[in-house]
Assembly symmetry: C2
Homo-oligomer: 331 residues x 2
């Protein structure tokens, strides 16, 4: 294992310290229990997320104006604990309440539920949404139901914009639920990734093989298949996505071509081109684009596609100002 | 070799097409000869750069307000040709003239020189700067003198801000030369990378080994050494950088912790933390931060550090609005 780390037990804390120092205008770091919070949080609904580390920039990279109020990083590929979520909730939640954004993994769901109960016992208003946008598999290694993957970026951005506009908790939650209803994702991997505490790859693929429908922790997908040209790879991802969304001609989409961490941007743009051509061939319109590493799996080579069916309201909230470490426009 | 590509001869063009489609608000693509240009270029000095592909987001990701007017992508790790540079120059250069920003590699320097002659013969005013910020080696595989690496981001941003302010060509060139005088970089690699046309890694490292002082094409560096903790790795890069800059106590710096393409952001922030602590220990102040994949080497795992000694003017130009695919603030 070759990693740019010091000791394994310190790596998440040290990485958060580096992040907080680089983005001191945006976030403050609370070391114990560990969470990061938005600096200068206004009186509005607070979006709180979190999950295992190793998926950066998710979630800390999305703290700031127009997105998250706080993020709780767990150990690598391991849910944060309720103490972290409760402390973050206490720090950023005012009278407007908080919305937990939870990716659908058993540990995250359980721990966020417990945190919500603890927060409610303190008189804090907390609602939760659980995102499961991955069409690859119905249940998986660490999930009952679909896994939460790249669509989380759309959820955090759009619900964050609704919170920033001053909407109340019920309205922000409704926007979040609309995003979840309209987004689907699927990914593939060319290589595994090495969790530092394990010291060896979470899975291996033969030369010439890839895994279709992989999860962001290297969970098995739909099938191990032979390498294909980029256009065919993209078709293999888009088919299940567009079938599940039941896209109609003329509908408007936001498309995220997301790198898993170890894929060159050169290749991501080739995949994005292929996605645009395939979607145009289906008679739909891609009206907004995001290409880059947003929901990653350490150094895994591979990518995922996320497609959001957008109406005028979702588009307007997508376009609203955002100022975070990883997404920034209009602010 | 596992790559998300179609046919090797098409990959640069296809990637540029995906890029231009995703960023149609910022750039236009000219397929033959291949270059990308800023949409809605104002009447001001035009910064033009380019180089081999495989270093994305450099350079096309830096086209837009406050940075580049045009970028010419070569084949992977191969200089673009003078026809591309000349066509780009004709497209974006007005009475204010153009400044070529050239990374110091033999092919790039030769081809940009030829393009400058051709442009001058057409009556266009062109000046050039050649950046060599890599302190690792004095001469290298493809270089007489120091290689141009991560510091190019500082050069393009700061000279771009000077151009955007409406300064004349001589003044923009002076700013570019000041940046080059004040920036130094050094990198390391944990793995090689595979140029698609070659089909196999450009070099291999044993498990437990890394290469210090690597170039962005995998050119050999200073030494092959055993893996070290992140703090020691960062010290090994910062020593030559700070020695060469001859930093004095209290000086203000901008620091770029740059991923080579395949390194998780989690690790880059650990390295950034280490860099901040080491620099603070030397009595200097880090006043601006940039952490991410900006000057890459395909899927290589590794990182580079770039340090710029900044005065008030350079800081002000760094902070000036920029709107490109890869860097955006204040605009």
């Amino acid at each position: 294992m070759k990693k740019i780390i010091n000791a394994v037990p310190d790596l998440v804390r040290e990485s958060c310290e580096g992040f907080a120092a680089a983005h001191a205008d945006l976030v403050t770091l609370h070391p114990e229990p560990l969470y990061l919070a938005r600096r200068d949080m206004p009186a509005q609904v607070a979006l709180i997320s979190g999950g295992g580390s190793g998926h950066e920039p998710l979630h800390a990279g999305f703290i700031g104006r127009g997105m998250l109020a706080a993020a709780c990083p767990g150990e690598v590929f391991t849910s944060p604990v309720p103490d972290q979520m409760l402390a973050a909730t206490q720090a950023v939640t005012g009278e407007a309440g908080a919305l937990y954004i939870v990716k659908n993994y058993t540990g995250d769901v359980m721990n966020f539920e417990l945190a919500a109960e603890l927060a409610a016992a303190e008189g804090l208003r907390v609602e939760s949404v659980v995102i499961g946008d991955d069409v690859a598999v119905q249940d998986s290694t660490w999930t009952a139901g679909r896994r939460g993957v790249g669509g989380t970026v759309f959820l955090e951005k759009i619900a964050g914009a609704a919170a920033e506009e001053g909407r109340d908790l019920a309205a922000v939650k409704r926007v979040a639920e609309r995003v979840m209803a309209e987004v689907r994702s699927m990914g593939l991997a060319l290589t595994g990734a090495t969790v530092p505490a394990a010291g060896k790859p979470n899975f291996t693929l033969e030369d010439g093989q890839l895994e279709l429908g992989i999860g962001i922790h290297g969970e098995p997908g739909r099938a191990r298949v032979d390498m294909m040209p980029a256009d065919e790879l993209v078709d293999a991802l888009l088919g299940p996505i567009t079938d599940d969304l039941d896209l109609g001609r003329g509908e408007e989409l936001i498309v995220l071509t997301n790198g898993m961490g170890g894929t060159p941007l050169l290749e991501l743009y080739i995949a994005h081109r292929a996605a645009l051509r395939a979607l145009e061939g289906r008679g739909v319109k891609v009206v907004r684009h995001l290409v880059g590493n947003y929901v990653t799996s350490l150094e895994m080579q591979g990518l995922s596609l996320s497609v959001l069916r957008a109406d005028d309201e979702l588009l307007r909230l997508w376009d609203a100002p955002v100022h975070t470490a990883a997404l920034r426009w209009g602010a």
